[in-house]
């Protein structure tokens, strides 16, 4: 069992409150996943290319920044938060990510993008949220996950969200049965994966499809035919947000929408505290149906 939440803001007036609106959503999902947690925030405001990274104690962050600067020819700044480091660079993010993964085997690149910042940890989800200052974060949309490990160990490598492509990330409730096969396919097509986790394969699959030119709905349609297993997925892109459930649909999901926001959660109680929820349209997403939101509003494709 895991808990998923996602919040996509339509009203720019709410951007400064994104994190503080997501915190109670995450809090309600702690019982569904008490062993680890993570969240991704898509910042509002101007683009600021960032690699969100995680490394063990004693890691030489300055050396990593220097190596990245030397390899790319672009200066690199670091913002350190606990065991995370946000590396800011003007270099090509795909190449920068690949360089860091190859040159520093101890380093995990959690996400790379112009807007995304991603944090994860093991232990109490509320402690993870506090450590990385979720409540104070501003942005356009965000995803969060609380994990109850079933298929793999309780390690930070198994914490969600997962991201392999620029500004694309995913949270997953469920388990995939064909991830070994898909991993080989994706690696042969140039995707770099960093964990043994099945959900990372789903993230890499979407990143690969979108690098190949698919729109988000097209990538999700491909996912429906290629991902085998149980899944409720919530996906973020630079300016989009999506929800997809497998055809069996045994992993729960609730959607709610008002003029100000779109919210997704494993259970309604995570949505119950959002402002204006009493006027929200609330529904359970249908199986095998792609729900996407972007600058042009909602699209539904069955």
């Amino acid at each position: 069992m895991c808990g998923i939440v996602g919040l996509f803001l339509k009203d720019p007036g709410l951007y400064p409150r994104l994190g503080s609106l997501m915190l109670p959503m995450l809090a309600e999902m702690c019982e569904r996943g008490p062993d680890s947690a993570g969240f991704a925030i898509y910042r509002d405001g101007p683009a600021r290319p960032t690699l969100s990274c995680l490394a063990p104690k004693g890691f030489d962050w300055e050396a990593a920044a220097a190596s990245l600067a030397q390899a790319t020819g672009s200066p690199c700044d670091i913002e350190r938060i606990a065991d995370h480091g946000l590396l800011r660079t003007a270099a090509d993010l795909h190449e920068a990510r690949r360089h860091l993964i190859e040159a520093f085997p101890d380093l995990s690149v959690l996400a790379a993008g112009e807007a995304i910042e991603l944090f994860k940890g093991i232990g109490d989800p509320m402690a993870v949220a506090r450590t990385f200052g979720l409540a104070g974060r501003s942005g356009t949309h965000g995803l969060a996950h609380t994990r109850m490990a079933t298929e793999s160990a309780v390690t930070i490598a198994g914490s969600h969200p997962f991201s392999t492509g620029a500004d694309t990330c995913l949270v997953h409730n469920g388990s995939l049965s064909n991830h070994h096969l898909l991993r080989e396919v994706l690696e042969s097509r140039g995707e770099t994966l960093q964990t043994e986790n099945d959900s990372e394969v789903a993230a890499a699959f979407l990143a690969w499809r979108m690098r190949e030119g698919d729109t988000l709905p097209q990538a999700l349609e491909a996912a429906l035919s290629r991902l085998d297993g149980f899944y409720t997925l919530t996906i973020g892109t630079r300016d989009g947000f999506a929800v997809l459930r497998d055809p069996i649909a045994c992993k729960p999901a609730v959607l709610a929408e008002t003029d100000q926001w779109v919210a997704m959660a494993s259970e309604f109680r995570a949505i119950a505290q959002l402002p204006g929820v009493e006027r929200a349209r609330i529904w359970e997403p249908e199986p095998s149906t792609i729900y996407t939101w972007g600058p042009d509003g909602m699209q539904v494709a069955a």
Binding site: A249, E267, F268, R269, I271, A272, E278, W283, E286
Partner: protein, 233 residues
């Protein structure tokens, strides 16, 4: 959160904003009669479950999982949506939801009546054993899976694999069925079925003409081992 409802006199209010779920449920479970209103449910789980007396409970808002589970004799109304497992294993009484219900509504229900005024999602009435279920909208896939007894009445459409591996329950659908499950077939609507359906619709307070429904039930082809297959082993 929700506006204060206009409550009749002699209604005991249980406000979940300041009353723990366990305390509120204990108050309901120990009452022998009377009317109760639960306020600010906020999607919490297992509300009004395990009731065993003719009390009346109205829950003013959306509820989480397993609301009104194992109900006996009580009348529980949810003014909102319900999560997974509404009225699971209901024995008697009435459970009504004015909005939608998530998956496995009235699962394994032995008796009583469950009314969902909106839609019910997947697996509605799974393994039902005598309960009557009335859904004002649509039901999702695998509804009435392995249904054994009782009636499932759907005013809208039914999703894929309706009545898969059904034993003896009766399924009445007014709209379209996306696909019938294994061993579930259309059956003629005889006078006795129209009477049964009319009675259930009346008890559910649903306006619909019984003649507009199609009845489905078991082809009974899965009941016994097929001797033709003996050579396969």
């Amino acid at each position: 959160m929700s506006d204060a409802p206009n409550l009749a006199r002699n209604v005991t209010v249980l406000d979940l904003q300041n009353t723990p779920v366990k305390d509120a449920n204990t108050a309901l479970q120990t009452a022998q009669d009377g009317a109760f209103a639960m306020l600010n449910p906020g999607g919490r789980h297992a509300l009004a479950c395990g009731l065993d007396a003719p009390v009346s409970v109205s829950i003013e808002g959306h509820v989480g999982y397993y609301c009104a589970g194992m109900n006996q004799h009580a009348e529980v109304t949810v003014r909102g949506n319900a999560g997974t497992g509404l009225a699971e294993n209901i024995m008697s009484g009435v459970v009504r939801v004015t909005g939608d219900a998530s998956q496995s509504a009235a699962a394994t229900g032995h008796g009583g009546l469950v009314v969902i005024e909106g839609n019910a999602s997947a697996r509605c009435g799974i393994s039902m054993k005598g309960v009557d279920i009335v859904v004002g909208g649509n039901v999702g896939h695998m509804s009435a899976f392995m249904a054994q007894a009782g009636n499932l009445v759907v005013l809208g459409d039914a999703g894929e694999d309706l009545g898969d591996s059904i034993y003896e329950a009766r399924l009445f659908v007014r709209g379209k069925v996306a696909r019938l499950g294994t061993d579930c077939v259309e059956k003629p609507m005889r006078a006795e079925h129209l009477d049964t359906l009319r009675d259930i619709l009346a008890r559910a307070g649903m306006e619909a003409a019984p003649e507009e429904f199609t009845r489905y039930g078991s082809a009974r082809a899965l009941y016994h081992f097929k001797i033709d297959n003996a050579g396969a082993y």
